[in-house]
């Protein structure tokens, strides 16, 4: 109960501050955020875009870990946790891709650029899509859980290759768009950083809360159908 309230208040605060704190050239007070030349007001999207991208990766890793647990113990509860994580991860991945495209439009003029980050989040989206397509194509629960876990492991193992490949492709295909500095967190003013990490923490808490809720609901449904069927 308390978590829900704390989380609600926290997120409202983060959102309100993120949207309304004034952005000025020379911040004098703690409530003034520095103005980034090329972006202006649109920089605010960073408070919301980066956490969603972070969560879509966290959720995927979480889903894979519970998948591995399922493969070892065959406990249906682990599969419930794995699928719930993937479901939320998918939603956040969609949000990250969309907000990322908006950011790209602001920074470089086009919605899609095939730069490393955009491509990576897109591939993650494809993997989520494939994961759910696989799940929906199997009727037998034990098989569905097993194959979904196997696929997520294969995908996770192959993903790191992108980190090595993208730089090579990029320098050869076309001149990379001037990556705006604000995409890196290196040069963020202290108060911006505070707000940013507060947003990150808030979103992570939100994810955990939603995941927990989804798992509990799925468990209830599972036990109900066990009583009915067995």
């Amino acid at each position: 109960m308390t978590l829900r309230i704390v989380l609600g208040v926290w997120m409202v605060a983060v959102i309100v501050l993120g949207i309304s704190l004034p952005m000025v050239d020379n911040p004098q007070h703690w409530y003034e955020l520095p103005l980034i030349p090329a972006l202006g007001e649109r920089a605010r999207i960073m408070f919301f875009h980066v956490p969603t991208a972070w969560l879509s990766v966290l959720a995927f890793v979480s889903s894979m870990i519970y998948g591995i647990k399922y493969l070892r113990k065959k406990n249906p509860d682990d599969d419930i946790k794995s699928a719930s994580a993937a479901g939320l991860g998918f939603i956040f991945c969609v949000l990250a891709t969309v907000t990322g495209a908006l950011w790209a439009k602001f920074s470089w003029g086009t919605y899609w650029n095939w730069d490393p980050r955009q491509t990576s989040i897109f591939v993650l989206l494809l993997i989520y899509g494939a994961y759910f397509a696989l799940r929906s194509a199997i009727d037998v629960e034990e098989k569905r859980a097993t194959l979904a876990a196997v696929y997520s492991i294969i995908a996770a193992v192959v993903m790191p290759f992108f980190m090595f490949i993208m730089p090579r492709i990029l320098e050869s295909l076309h001149p990379s768009p001037i990556l705006s500095v604000s995409k890196e967190q290196g040069s963020m003013a202290p108060n911006m950083r505070v707000l940013f990490f507060a947003s990150l923490a808030g979103f992570t808490g939100l994810y955990y809360w939603m995941w927990n809720l989804h798992v509990r609901a799925s468990r209830l449904e599972f036990h109900r159908s066990m009583k009915a069927g067995g």
Binding site: L71, G129, I153, I154, V158, I165, I169
Partner: protein, 231 residues
């Protein structure tokens, strides 16, 4: 799940027996081979017609070659597992052979199929698509070789997965694409280098990636295959 051991020589014999069975079966029925050949010919013809008398930039042509290869693989490489399920012989195979022998036997089969298919595709493509000229043959040949192995490896494990699912046909490209993407990006880049006349050393990075991809995919396939194959 207990890992069953058997002497290496028995395992090799078993793997080769499965490979030969698939090969014999395919040569006898010729389902996959004829469909694949027609697929490649048709796709290259379509590309030819859409290009007309124009020529496309070398980048695009390198990419398109691998598009043809990818979709041809999607047409043919799942057969080895799917037919076992469809004809009801999957259980017979489970009874008679150890899982790893099945994996590597079918991997070997898919490898032969992929190499044959790719060589044919490359020959047709180079012959008919103007503007696609290979300048550094060493890079090109190594790329086709490593690319085929990597393709066969990834396609085989995904085929094993979808053979247990319902909507096998449409599911296969959907699951394969994210897994094959690193491979595809790398081979397209290497192919482009070969058309630009780059030195062999310039492609070493690509070759390293390809070899590590193959090792990783084969290792993961071996570790996870029991879970896929055994009910």
């Amino acid at each position: 799940m207990p890992r069953t051991e058997q002497p290496l020589s028995t395992w090799v014999q078993s793997t080769l027996a499965i490979f030969r069975k698939d090969l014999k079966s395919e040569l006898r029925t010729r389902y996959a081979i004829s469909a694949l050949i027609m697929f490649v010919i048709t796709t290259i013809a379509i590309i030819l017609f859409s290009l007309g008398s124009e020529s496309a930039p070398a980048d695009a042509l390198s990419g398109m070659l691998w598009v043809v290869v990818f979709f041809a693989s999607m047409s043919g490489l799942s057969r080895t597992f799917v037919t076992e399920e469809e004809r009801g012989t999957a259980m017979t195979l489970q009874l008679m052979a150890t899982p790893s022998a099945v994996l590597f036997g079918k991997l070997l089969f898919n490898l032969v199929l992929t190499l044959g298919l790719n060589v044919m595709t490359v020959i047709l493509y180079s012959a008919f698509i103007n503007g696609f000229v290979v300048r550094t043959y060493s890079i090109f040949v190594i790329t086709i070789g490593l690319g085929s192995i990597g393709l066969a490896a990834a396609a085989t494990i995904i085929a094993a997965i979808i053979a247990r699912a319902n909507t096998k046909g449409t599911l296969y490209p959907v699951l394969s694409f994210p897994i094959l993407l690193p491979l595809l990006l790398t081979v397209i880049n290497a192919t482009r280098l070969s058309t630009e006349g780059a030195f062999l050393e310039e492609a070493y990075g690509e070759f390293q990636i390809l070899v590590s991809y193959i090792v990783v995919v084969v290792a993961v396939s071996y570790l996870l295959f029991d879970y896929i194959w055994k009910d």
